[in-house]
């Protein structure tokens, strides 16, 4: 199975991971159409 981007869906969780893993956050505002 092809890999996919493992999106977070909540800002607080993303920032907690960013601090823990010392990474930046890519925030994508999308239109589901």
């Amino acid at each position: 199975m092809k890999d996919k981007i493992k999106w977070e869906t909540e800002m607080d969780g993303a920032l907690a991971r960013a601090r823990s893993e010392k990474k930046h956050v890519l925030l994508d505002f999308f239109n589901p159409g």
Binding site: I5, E10, F29
Partner: protein, 150 residues
């Protein structure tokens, strides 16, 4: 983005290995208001404190996506005064994606990082000269134009 760029294996691997990807709907509150979202796709690079450092609006092809993300990470480090780390990201753009739309800004910003580290103006002049030679009509070449006099 979902049809072409996000399924691209290089993009998937880069994002999963180097960033925390967060996807929210364009009208999700309070984030949509906090970030003044008016169009999609809007992609924003945040530091771990949630501060914005880089934004693109509109579609990015796979071969522009990774250098744009590297530029966002580099700008975040630059604006947090981590100049060596910023330089590493910027040099990755120049080495691996020299024809990308992000490359001229990366070249400009690398010169600024080098200046910030040394207080020697020579890297600023070198940045202008390289921009003039490699990207003669780019906006970042125009922004660097005064450095020719250093």
């Amino acid at each position: 983005m979902d049809a072409v760029t996000y399924p691209d294996s290089k993009v998937v691997n880069f994002i999963n290995e180097n960033l925390i990807p967060l996807q929210v709907q364009f009208d999700a509150q309070p984030l949509a208001s906090d970030f003044h979202i008016k169009w999609t796709p809007t992609l924003i690079t945040l530091d771990a404190d949630g501060r914005e450092h880089h934004r693109t609006v509109g579609y990015l092809a796979p071969d522009e996506m990774i250098p744009s993300l590297l530029l966002g990470m580099g700008k975040s480090c630059f604006e947090n005064e981590r100049f060596d780390e910023a330089t590493t990201y910027l040099e990755k753009i120049l080495a691996d994606y020299p024809k990308s739309d992000s490359a001229p800004e990366a070249l400009y910003l690398r010169g600024v990082c080098r200046y910030k580290n040394t207080h020697d103006p020579k890297p600023l002049k070198e940045a202008y000269e390289q921009l003039r030679d490699e990207y003669p009509s780019n906006e970042w070449t125009k922004r660097a134009y005064p450095y020719r006099l250093l």
